[in-house]
Symmetry: C2
DNA sequence: GTTGAACGTGGAAGCGGTGCCACGCCCCGA
DNA sequence: TCGGGGCGTGGCACCGCTTCCACGTTCAAC
């Protein structure tokens, strides 16, 4: 591999000049710049990243901070991010965080250790304290599916999504609409289920429906728990005629529970999910679609713009109901 | 952050000695070693990776070389890999490769640029030429779902899997068994569909069944293409009574095509898939299960062992048929 | 003609490690 | 007693880049 010294010698200039050309600094005569660029091209030179990091005291890389790779929606977003970042040519490394402890360790290693140029956070809220550290360390940060203090983000309005799903059921005559969601004291601070519930309550209130507390169920994320909660709903004196699940995975548990009770979907009970994950079309699940892949792509775009020192705005993506076979008019 | 010089001063030794302690070299008096380790602990020192890479001329990182993140099976393996690597504390970066061109660029950047300590390749065959370069560059390499020349790997026997799936159908009385798979001149050289077809043919031959060529269909990967191929099968003079799809995604296309013809699964036509992806249980698809996540974990284990200079053996994982609701006796 | 600011440039001092070389010491054999 | 071979160690050159300082040059202003 050629080094900066080879380039400098070959172009008949000093290493400082080559470095200035490399980094697009001013103060280089156009002719010199052209000559250096020609030599770089000819020698197929590319700077040694370790040396650059050492000298600059920071890394060129981009770090992706991601919770639960097993979650389908996080996964879809991640795919978008990776695709969007592909063209940047930067090293991209992955930090996966499944617990508060791992999160804190990951952040410590980012701020004090790797010092990447950019950080892209998916779905994981970070404290103001942490955000201050990141700003301090001059790490360009972007949030995807999470609003982070003082940095740009790509978000989807979960409250609006909850409203949309609920209105979809109300518009079809349902009045006894239940909600099945996550526990709301998430250690990692996820709020999507909570926000979707708020949207749900808001839509009901707007429709003038007095909501029975017994229609709002929450439990650990997953199919099994949703299954159990749904059985509870079905044994109520007045079981709901429709269920809004805070995620598609939970909706699958809801579907199972209804069917295992000998009831039919959507004839006896309607079900709407959220996320419109890849599985949804196979199962015919009506769901609230949010642009998962695109949110990742856009997040990558924001980060790359930030790294080019451009000013960027927050992006908010629209949600919509995808109608399939699990909701019927009452 | 403390540097090696701080440690050396604090411990009253030279930087060389600290470096030797750090790297577990011999030739350090036990007392000195203990003293240095104590200081390292006290100062919470950890070496600067950029400096180390620069000096050693190679990176500590591990690179993951992965095709098509969108593929469910690659994804599941990747999750296993990441989980398995989590404990190593090494930087892990991702190179995603969707075309021959990207593959070659990625390899060039690995061998000449980043020079990671380890490389874990998922499902992507590499030429002997490339393998020689990797050996030359002393990059510890491990294959997951691909056998790579001269390095350890975790593989699953696709031929055996094809046999298993086919025998499963034969054992239930089917004689007219069709195969729906991928095109076999994959630019990136994937051979799994081809191998599964070989297993299929072998099982038929062993059962003394003369195979009609018209029962073997191949097309681009994906649901739509499998759908189309299946319609062709169903219009044959003697349509098959069972279909073996080279992957679950293709099996979904097969299911759709059969049902859209007004036929029932499994009463009219049986279907068996391959991979047992997350979706399969939801749809009730009978499929050949291969331990995707585990293969990734084991691959990570092999790589970490190689990086500790341990000798390791190839691992071959077993496949098995998971019976659900899409296969019935003839 | 002198001054000095702005410009373009070369070069050296780091960045924080690694690894080699040289040095002093101790112990053993001649 | 002396020489020589380990052993344990300190220190310095070096990895390839950035960055800053200093040095000509040019040119406008006075």
């Amino acid at each position: 591999m050629a080094t900066i010294l080879d380039v400098a010698r070959e172009a008949g200039v000093g290493v400082g000049t080559v470095s200035r050309v490399l980094n697009g600094r001013e103060r280089v005569a156009p002719g010199t710049r052209a000559r250096v660029l020609a030599v770089i091209e000819r020698l197929d030179y590319s700077p040694n990243l370790s040396a650059r990091s050492l000298s600059r005291g920071r890394t060129e890389a981009i770090c992706l901070l991601v919770p639960y790779l097993t979650s389908a929606s996080v996964n879809a977003r991640l795919q978008g991010v990776v695709e969007g970042l592909q063209s940047s040519g930067r090293e991209t490394f992955l930090q996966i965080v499944d617990s508060v402890d791992q999160r804190d360790r990951a952040i410590a290693s980012i701020v004090e250790g790797a010092k990447p140029a950019g950080l892209l956070v998916i779905s994981l809220p970070l404290s103001d304290n942490v955000m201050a550290c990141l700003r301090e360390a001059e790490i360009a940060t972007v949030g995807v599916d999470v609003a982070l203090d003082g940095v740009p983000s790509v978000t989807v309005d979960d409250i609006e999504g909850g409203r949309l799903a609920t209105r979809f059921l109300l518009d079809r005559g349902h009045r006894a609409v239940a909600f099945v969601g996550d526990l709301e004291d998430q250690p990692l601070g996820f709020r999507s289920s909570q926000n979707r519930r708020l949207g749900y309550l808001d839509a009901l209130a707007n429709a003038g429906i007095e909501q029975a507390d017994e229609y709002v169920k929450s439990g650990p994320f997953g199919r099994a728990s949703a299954h159990r909660l749904t059985r509870e709903l079905l044994t109520l004196a007045h079981p709901p005629t429709a269920v809004f699940a805070a995620s598609d995975v939970q909706a699958f548990g809801v579907l199972e529970a209804i069917r295992s009770d000998g009831l039919r979907v959507p004839e006896d009970v309607s079900v709407i999910g959220y996320d419109d994950i890849e599985l949804a079309p196979y199962v015919g699940l009506t769901s609230v679609h949010q642009p998962l892949f695109e949110s990742g792509q856009m997040g990558a775009g924001l980060l790359m713009a930030r790294l080019r020192q451009e000013e960027v705005e927050n992006v908010s993506l629209a949600v919509s109901v995808v109608e399939r076979d699990t909701v019927a008019p009452l």
